[in-house]
C-alpha cells in the first residue's frame, strides 16, 4: 500500500485539507469553519440573493476553487468527461436533503472532523451519526437499493456546472450590484480572497486526482478494512487538523462553549446520519459532489444545484440549527429526509426472485 | 323475567362502581397550606386558588388553603395548623430559624426573578433629590414584617447614617389592606414626603398604568433579595415534599387549575412567572439585614 503513489497523494491531500482547514479559520474564516462545504453553500446562496439572512451572504472563493480546481486537474490529465443523465430529480432532492442534514448538525463531514479535532466534543454525536448513516447506506446497496444509477454514457451538459462556476468567479471579481456581502456575522468573516481561492483550487485539484472523500473513506473502511488508503487519509486529516488547532491555540477540549455548536446530540446524530446515508447512495459527500461536478459529472452537478437550493431553504425556512438548538423545522426536515430515502429504498430496490 | 334480572344486576354493578369511585376519592389525604396574606385576604385567595388546585391534581392530595395574617403566621405554624407555608422571605427565615422549616421553592416575579428589592422613593419635583434630604421629612413604611417594604429600607437608612427613629419628622405605617399601594399613592398625592416602597409594587403599578415611571425619584434601593417562598414544616413526609417541589418547579405558563368552577392558568392567576430552586444560603442576605435592623428572629430587646 505504501509503495503506491496513490497512497502518498492521498496522504498529501489529507494533510493539506487538515492544515488548510484550520489555517483558513486563522486567516479569517469563522471559528472551526475553515472549510465547510455546507456553510459555504449557504453563504454563497445568500450572496446570490437566494435567501435573506444578512449574516450569511458571501460568495465563498473556496467553493469556486474546489470545483474549478477539479476541472483544471481533470482537463490537464484528460479526465474530464461529460457524463450523467441518471435519476436527475432524485439527485436534486437528495442534494437538498444532504444540506438539510448538514444544516441541522451545523457543518458538513469535513467540518465535522475539523470541529472534532479542535476539541469540540459535541461533534462526537455527529461522528457516530455519520458512521451509522454510511453503514445504513451500505446495507441498502448490499440489499439491492439503487436510488440512483451510477453516472454513465456521454450525456451532454457535464460542462455546464464548471461554466456556471466560471461565471461565479467572474462575479466574485467584478462584484455586480446584485451580489450581496454581509457586513456582520459569519458571512463577514473570510480569509483573503486570493488565499481562499488558491487553497480551494489546490484542494480541488488534489481531491480530483485522489478521489478523496470523507464518507467514501468510511465506506471503504467498512468494506475493505484497514487496507484502504482512504482510512489512513482520514486519520492524517484529523491528526493534521488537531495539530494545527493546538499550534494555533484553537484547541479547546470541551462539550460546552464551542463555536457554532449546539447541545442537541440526538439531532446532531440524526443530521449526520442522513448525510452519511445519502452520501453513500449518491457516491460521495458534499465535497466529493463538487469535485465530481468539476470533472464533468452532470449527475453530481444536479446534486450541487440541489445543495444550493437546500442551502437557501435552510436559511429561509429556519431549518439551519443555531447554538440555541434545532428548530422544529429542522427536525421536520431531517425526519422527512429519512422518510424520503427510506421510501426510495423501498421503491428502487432490485429484489431477487 | 330474565330481562329484569339482567337489568337489576347491571344496576347493582353500576351502583357498586359509583360507590367505589366515591370511596376512593374520600381516601385522599387532606393537607393544609398556610398562605400569608399579601394585600388582602380576598386577593390572596383569588391569586392562589388555581395553584392550590393544580398542586392537588399533581400531588394526589387534597390541599386546603388557609389564609393567615402575617403577624399570626409564626404562632399558627408552630401550632401545626398547616404543613406547607407560602410566605415572604423574612417570615421564611423566622420559621426556619425558630421551627426548622425547609425551603421548597422561591417564587419568580418581576425583573429580578425570585428576588426583588426595596426602595426609598419621593415624588419627582418635591425637592427631595438625595437620601440625605429625607431628614426631617414625613415617611411611610410598609408592614414591619415586609422585607422589601420595611426591612430593606430601614437597613438602607441605617447604612446611610440616618436613624428612622430620630431623624425623620415622623414615620407611619398605613392601616388596613393594600398598604404598599397606599404609601406609594400617599407620596404621589403629598400625604407623605417619602416612602419605603417595594420595587415589585412599583413595577406592577407602572405596568397597570396606576403610576408613571417618571412620577418618582428613587433615592436609594437595596440589593435584590429573595421574596415569596414556599416552605414545608419540619418532619413532613419527604415523598410529599418532593412531589410538591416537583409540581412547583415544573409549572409552565399553560398549566391550569380550578377556582370556583372556572379553569384558570395558574401562573397568570397568581401573577407569577414560575418557581426557582434557591438555596437556603441565598437567604443569608435577609438574615444579615434582619440582624442589622434588629428584626426577628434576631431581635434583641
Amino acid at each position: 500500500m505504501t509503495r503506491s503513489i496513490e497512497f502518498w497523494m492521498t496522504m498529501a491531500t489529507a494533510l493539506l485539507l487538515g492544515t488548510v482547514g484550520v489555517l483558513l479559520s486563522v486567516w479569517g474564516n469563522p471559528e472551526n469553519s475553515g472549510i465547510c462545504v455546507s456553510c459555504f453553500i449557504e453563504n454563497s446562496a445568500g450572496a446570490l440573493g437566494l435567501h435573506d439572512n444578512g449574516n450569511m451572504q458571501y460568495l465563498r472563493p473556496e467553493l469556486i476553487g474546489f470545483l474549478l480546481g477539479s476541472t483544471a486537474s481533470a482537463l490537464a490529465f484528460r479526465d474530464f468527461r461529460s457524463r450523467g443523465g441518471s435519476a436527475p430529480l432524485s439527485r436534486l432532492f437528495l442534494g437538498i436533503f444532504l444540506i438539510f442534514g448538514c444544516a441541522v448538525f451545523i457543518g458538513c463531514p469535513i467540518k465535522l472532523f475539523l470541529r472534532l479535532s479542535a476539541g469540540d466534543l459535541t461533534a462526537v454525536a455527529g461522528v457516530a451519526g455519520l458512521l451509522g448513516g454510511v453503514w445504513l447506506g451500505l446495507r441498502g446497496l448490499a440489499n439491492g437499493v439503487e436510488l440512483v444509477k451510477p453516472s454513465q454514457g456521454n450525456a451532454s451538459g457535464g460542462h455546464l456546472i464548471p461554466v456556471l462556476f466560471v461565471v461565479l468567479l467572474i462575479f466574485l471579481f467584478m462584484r455586480p450590484e446584485f451580489l450581496l456581502f454581509s457586513v456582520k456575522g459569519g458571512g463577514a468573516q473570510y480569509a483573503p480572497l486570493s488565499v481562499a481561492l488558491a487553497a480551494g483550487v489546490a484542494l480541488g485539484a488534489l481531491a480530483q486526482r485522489t478521489r478523496f472523500c470523507i464518507t467514501g473513506s468510511i465506506r471503504n473502511t467498512f468494506l475493505m478494512g484497514l487496507r484502504t488508503p482512504a482510512l489512513w487519509g482520514l486519520l492524517v486529516f484529523v491528526v493534521a487538523a488537531a495539530v494545527s488547532s493546538m499550534v494555533s491555540g484553537r484547541f479547546n477540549l470541551s462539550l460546552y462553549g464551542q463555536p457554532g455548536a449546539h447541545l442537541e446530540h440526538v439531532w446532531s446524530f440524526l443530521g449526520m446520519g442522513l448525510v452519511g446515508w445519502i452520501s453513500v447512495l449518491i457516491g460521495g459527500c458534499p465535497f466529493r459532489q463538487l469535485i465530481k461536478a468539476g470533472e464533468g459529472d452532470a449527475d453530481a452537478g444536479l446534486v450541487v444545484i440541489g445543495m444550493f437550493i437546500g442551502g437557501a431553504l435552510s436559511q429561509s425556512w429556519g431549518i439551519a440549527a443555531t447554538a440555541a438548538g434545532v428548530s422544529l423545522y429542522g427536525k421536520v426536515a431531517i425526519l422527512l429526509g429519512f422518510a424520503f430515502v427510506a421510501c426510495g429504498s423501498l421503491l428502487y430496490r432490485e429484489r431477487s426472485r | 323475567m330474565n330481562y329484569f334480572r339482567i337489568l337489576n344486576t347491571a344496576f347493582a354493578l353500576l351502583m357498586l362502581l359509583m360507590v367505589a369511585g366515591c370511596s376512593s376519592e374520600a381516601k385522599r389525604p387532606v393537607v393544609k397550606i398556610g398562605y400569608m396574606l399579601c394585600n388582602s385576604e380576598e386577593e390572596t385567595m383569588q391569586r392562589f386558588k388555581p395553584l392550590t388546585s393544580y398542586l392537588s391534581d399533581k400531588v394526589g392530595v387534597d390541599f386546603v388553603m388557609v389564609p393567615v395574617d402575617t403577624n399570626d403566621f409564626e404562632k399558627r405554624f408552630k401550632n401545626g395548623e398547616f404543613t406547607f407555608a407560602h410566605t415572604n422571605s423574612i417570615l421564611y427565615v423566622i420559621l426556619r430559624e425558630n421551627h426548622g422549616a425547609e425551603l421548597l421553592a422561591s417564587e419568580k416575579r418581576g425583573k429580578f426573578g425570585s428576588r426583588t428589592a426595596g426602595a426609598i422613593i419621593a415624588r419627582k419635583g418635591s425637592g427631595i433629590e438625595r437620601l440625605d434630604d429625607i431628614k426631617g421629612k414625613r415617611m411611610a413604611f410598609g408592614p414591619m414584617l415586609a422585607p422589601t417594604g420595611y426591612m430593606a429600607e430601614y437597613d438602607l437608612m441605617l447604612a446611610a447614617g440616618i436613624n428612622p427613629e430620630n431623624d425623620l419628622a415622623h414615620y407611619t405605617i398605613p392601616s388596613g389592606s393594600f398598604k404598599h399601594e397606599k404609601l406609594i399613592y400617599g407620596v404621589l398625592y403629598g400625604k407623605y414626603d417619602v416612602a419605603a416602597a417595594p420595587i415589585l409594587d412599583i413595577e406592577n403599578m407602572t405596568r397597570d398604568g396606576k403610576i408613571a415611571a417618571d412620577d418618582f425619584v428613587i433615592l436609594a434601593q437595596s440589593v435584590p433579595i429573595p421574596y415569596c417562598t414556599f416552605a414545608s414544616a419540619k418532619g413532613t413526609d419527604p415523598t410529599l415534599v418532593k412531589k410538591v417541589k416537583d409540581a412547583l418547579m415544573n409549572l409552565k405558563p399553560g398549566d391550569t387549575g380550578e377556582a370556583d368552577g372556572e379553569v384558570l392558568k395558574v401562573l397568570k392567576a397568581a401573577w407569577i412567572d414560575g418557581y426557582e430552586d434557591l438555596l437556603d444560603s441565598d437567604y443569608d442576605v435577609i438574615r444579615e439585614m434582619a440582624k442589622r435592623v434588629n428584626m426577628p428572629p434576631y431581635q434583641k430587646y
Binding site: E31, E42, G54, E177, G260 | R115, Q221, M249, D277
Partner: protein
C-alpha cells in the same frame, strides 16, 4: 460542427450574441457614471435600512440609557418596561435590561436577559455591528462561569442552577463565534 448552412448560422448567431453581450457591458460601464445598473443598489439600500434601524433604536431607548448613565438604574428599568410593552420581541430591550441588572447586582438575571436578546439578534455579540455589547457580555460570562459551575457542582440536583449553567454555556458558545 461546421458542416452545413445550419451549423454556420448557429456559429454566426453565437458570435453575434457574444459580441453584443460584450458591447452592452462595455457601453454600460462607460455610460454608468457611478449609477446602478438595475436602478437601485440592493446592498446599499440594505445598509441604509440597517443604519436607520440602529439610529431608531438608539433614539427610542435613549431615555433609558440616559437614566442608566446617571446611575438611576431602577428608574431606567421602569422606563425600559414601558418600552418593552410597546415593542415586545425587540432584542435591544433584553440587552439593555441585562446591562442594567448586571449593574444592580443581579448577574443571574442579567445572563437570562442577555440570552433572550442574543437569541433574537446575534448582532450584540458581533464586534462588527454598531449594536455590539460583546465586551460587557464577555466580561459577565468570564466572571460568572466559574462561579456557576462551582455552584452546580455543589448542588447537582438544583434545577435553577442547571438552567443557569445552560444559559451561561449558550453565551459562551455565541461568544466563541462560528457561522450562524
Amino acid at each position: 460542427m461546421f458542416r452545413d448552412f445550419f451549423d454556420k448560422s448557429c456559429w454566426g448567431l453565437l458570435a453575434v450574441a457574444l459580441t453584443a453581450l460584450l458591447a452592452v457591458l462595455l457601453v454600460d460601464a462607460a455610460n454608468r457614471d457611478g449609477k446602478s445598473a438595475r436602478g437601485s443598489n440592493k446592498a446599499m439600500e440594505r445598509e441604509m435600512a440597517y443604519h436607520a434601524r440602529v439610529e431608531l433604536i438608539n433614539k427610542l431607548y435613549g431615555p433609558v440609557e440616559v437614566l442608566r448613565t446617571a446611575g438611576r438604574n431602577q428608574e431606567a428599568l421602569l422606563k425600559l418596561d414601558e418600552l418593552n410593552r410597546r415593542y415586545p420581541g425587540e432584542a435591544h430591550g433584553h440587552i439593555l435590561q441585562g446591562l442594567i441588572l448586571q449593574d444592580m447586582g443581579a448577574p443571574d438575571e442579567a445572563i437570562a436577559s442577555f440570552v433572550e436578546g442574543i437569541k433574537l439578534n446575534g448582532d450584540y455579540v458581533d464586534d462588527k455591528s454598531p449594536l455590539s455589547r460583546r465586551r460587557e457580555i464577555q466580561g459577565l460570562v468570564d466572571i460568572r462561569s466559574k462561579d456557576v459551575s462551582a455552584r452546580v457542582a455543589a448542588n447537582p440536583d438544583n434545577r435553577t442552577l442547571a438552567g443557569l449553567l445552560q444559559k451561561t454555556n449558550y453565551l459562551k458558545s455565541r461568544l466563541a463565534g462560528g457561522c450562524e
